[in-house]
């Protein structure tokens, strides 16, 4: 039996490339060796490039910078973390998290009816069109889309013009936190629609029919059947909208106002301007810790089955 299995391996006696043939035969026989060799490059990449850099950052956060020489001082201190818990930085962290939460809720509310329509109402052709419409903005540069919003929101911009036309008076919400909220909600919306759509599409029609047969009205069906089944999709989408907002610093920089600093902006200032790597590292750990708890919560809600 074994001989027949070995048979497809290349002839071992051929003079050219005999070593190569033996190697290939050896690999063919030992599945574990094959798997190790195939997986080790990406695994090494993950370990060295990704995890190691995180560890280095963690360690750096406990160092400090000499005020005279501006060089790293390799002595252990908690000063950076103590500084994090001062009102300036707590305000900035609070603003970032609150904005991420607000954007996530906004996107969930907008995405659910849209995804429902796509998944269960639209014709196959209409669905295709809607899908394209949702994904099309992702083809354009993030920056171009943010700049478009600046033009819309600024004083005398498109929005103000429109409001004046319909008799509501001029609006001037450019360079405010409201502007940031609008732009974030727009930019990350596709990342919410797609997982919610996937979750809704998987719900069998029979469940909804059964609900109807048992006397449930639309609202009750939505509340007790659709929503619980779609929840993992919403949570999966929220991972994207939440984490993407949490880590952003371009939108606050471009559309934010006088008090719109995000965690990312402060990290940027500390690296690019102050060369204070330790404090930047300590600050960078904040979103990581927040996301760890967020992901644990999301897993408990079954989000990862929807991805």
């Amino acid at each position: 039996m074994t001989s027949t299995i070995v048979q497809p391996s290349p002839p071992t006696a051929g003079p050219p490339g005999g070593g190569q043939a033996r190697l290939s035969a050896a690999l063919w026989r030992r599945a574990w060796l094959r798997a190790t060799l195939t997986l080790s490059p990406p695994l090494a990449w993950f370990l060295v490039i990704y995890l190691a850099s995180l560890v280095v950052m963690l360690i750096t956060a406990f160092w400090t910078v000499d005020p005279f020489t501006n060089t790293l001082v390799h002595s252990w201190t908690l000063a950076n973390f103590q500084q994090l818990f001062t009102s300036t930085y707590l305000t900035i962290i609070g603003r970032t998290v609150a904005m991420a939460a607000l954007v996530t809720v906004t996107d969930a509310v907008l995405a659910f009816p849209f995804a429902y329509f796509m998944a269960r109402v639209a014709s196959p052709r209409g669905r295709q069109l809607l899908f394209t419409a949702v994904l099309l903005p992702l083809w354009a540069s993030y920056l171009a889309r943010v700049y478009a919003w600046i033009v819309i929101l600024q004083k005398g911009g498109t929005l103000s013009w429109f409001f004046t036309k319909i008799g509501l008076g001029a609006v001037n919400i450019g360079y405010t936190n409201t502007a940031m909220w609008l732009v974030f909600s727009y930019i990350w919306l596709p990342f919410m629609i797609v997982p919610v759509y996937a979750a809704l599409e998987r719900i069998p029609d029979s469940l909804l029919e059964a609900s109807g047969d048992l006397g449930a009205r639309n609202w009750r069906t939505l509340r007790t059947v659709l929503l619980p089944l779609a929840l993992p999709g919403v949570v999966a989408g929220s991972i994207f909208t939440f984490s993407l907002t949490l880590g952003d610093f371009i939108t606050p920089l471009l559309v934010g106002g006088a008090s719109s600093n995000f965690i990312g902006n402060v990290i940027y200032a500390n690296i690019g301007t102050a060369n204070n790597l330790p404090f930047a590292a300590a600050l960078a750990l904040v979103p990581i810790v927040i996301m760890i708890f967020y992901l644990l919560g999301a897993r408990a809600l079954g989000a990862f089955e929807s991805l």
């Binding site: 910078v65 000499d66 005020p67 005279f68 020489t69 501006n70 060089t71 001082v73 002595s75 500084q83 300036t88 930085y89 305000t91 900035i92 600046i150 600024q154 004083k155 005398g156 911009g157 001037n172 450019g174 360079y175 920089l253 471009l254 934010g256 106002g257 006088a258 008090s259 600093n261 402060v266 200032a269 500390n270 690019g272 301007t273 102050a274 060369n275 204070n276």
Partner: protein, 405 residues
């Protein structure tokens, strides 16, 4: 793009003085409140390369030239004719910040780079780390046509030795809308005036504290501020408090020159701190704005081409310094980037390229005008007064985070 990092870039000359003061036995880590450290900053110390001999003539060119430059400092319009004239093929590596320039130049340019277009805040650091060496200023004939204050400025000339040749500079001006201000404001106080609440914009840059300090040095002489980059804790606190009071008036702290342009173009803001670049772009676009340097003076920046200690192509480097200081290149660079040339003869050529640009960039201003400019340098714990009680730049950055929220 350099534009928005330039300010941020500012930082770090710190390490310059490091070399100087830190070399003693004070031991780096202990000095946090200015109790130790090596005494008065740069006085009495000699840059490592001060004794390096300078060439008496420019020899045969090597065929290559490697630059570290701000983006926009090696444009084809003046690089191509240079290559044709000298046979030196130019490769430019663009740096985003002053810190990046300093690290690229580590080890005297690593035997790879020849010249760096360093800003005033990086210069001392490069000089005192021995990464750049003196040049023979007599080989650069246009030097004598420079504005006097850029011939031997303290940030690139030490003990009579020139560690490079000044290139271009610019002031930080007060930009205002002519609608809101029929006549030019004469004081920076308009930036702190509640009348313009929600219509003010200033750069998102910790060095802005120096602008507040400069204003206070004239309006509150009792604070005793003599140098806006060397502030003791009480002086620093006063400047920070002033900026905290200013915060509610601010519409936006701008990071990019283009942001400020659109703020003024749309009429969102009517007054702010700016570079001549924004004024000129806005005026060209038809906006009713103008800029001025108020009575308290202004801050500014100045760049220098500096020669790497291990420059592999020194003759091409000298050719470049000669070329870059010619009136025509000075004018082209000034107009391309929106700054002022060091060479006074560039003025008529600027007007040829773009009418009125010489006056717009103050290239023909009298020497008294330039004396009002306080050029950027990095705030260090070591003050010019020989004490170590000044607030270092890291604290400027955290205070700035507090101010801007």
């Amino acid at each position: 793009m350099r534009i928005w990092t330039r300010g941020g870039a500012l930082f770090a000359a710190a390490s310059a003085i490091v070399m100087i003061a830190g070399c003693g036995s004070s031991g780096g880590g202990s000095a946090s409140s200015g109790s130790s450290g090596g005494g008065s900053a740069t006085q009495g110390l000699t840059p490592p390369q001060a004794g390096t001999a300078v060439p008496s003539s420019v020899g045969k060119t090597e065929g290559h030239l490697n630059l570290i430059a701000w983006e926009g400092y090696a444009q084809p319009q003046w690089v191509k004719p240079f290559q044709q004239a000298t046979g030196c093929q130019v490769s430019a590596k663009y740096a985003g910040t002053s810190s990046e320039m300093v690290s690229l130049m580590a080890g005297g340019g690593g035997g790879q780079y020849d010249l760096v277009s360093a800003s005033g805040d990086a210069d001392l650091r490069l000089i005192y780390s021995g990464d750049v060496k003196p040049i023979n200023i007599n080989l650069i004939s246009n030097w004598k046509n420079f504005h006097p204050f850029l011939q031997n400025p303290p940030f690139n000339t030490i003990g009579g030795k020139h560690y490079g040749i000044s290139y271009e500079f610019g002031p930080n001006v007060l930009l205002y809308s002519k609608k809101a201000f029929p006549s030019a404001p004469t004081s920076w106080s308009v930036l702190y005036n509640k009348k313009y609440a929600g219509e003010v914009t200033v750069p998102n840059n910790p060095i802005q504290i120096a602008d507040a300090a400069l204003y206070l040095s004239k309006t509150q002489p009792s604070l005793g501020i003599t140098d806006p980059y060397e502030l003791t804790q009480p002086q620093f606190n006063a400047a920070v408090n002033l900026l905290k009071q200013q915060r509610p008036l601010i519409k936006k702290y701008w990071d990019l020159a283009s942001q400020e342009e659109s703020l003024f173009q749309s009429g969102t803001t009517v007054v702010g701190a700016a570079w001549p670049l924004q004024t000129n772009t806005l005026v060209a676009a038809g906006a009713k704005v103008a800029d001025t340097i108020p009575s308290q003076g202004a801050t500014g920046w100045a760049d220098t081409w500096m020669l790497a200690t291990k420059a592999p192509h020194p003759n091409c480097a000298y050719k470049w310094m000669q070329w870059a200081t010619t009136p025509k290149v000075q004018a082209q660079q000034a107009i391309f980037f929106g700054e002022t040339p060091a060479n006074k003869l560039a003025c008529p050529i600027m007007d040829q390229i773009s009418k009125g640009s010489c006056a717009a960039y103050h290239a023909n201003a009298p020497e008294s005008y330039f004396q009002t400019l306080k050029f950027w340098k990095t705030p260090l714990a070591q003050c010019g007064n020989g004490k170590n009680d000044c607030v270092p730049f890291q604290q400027w950055v955290s205070a700035w985070t507090q101010i801007t929220g």
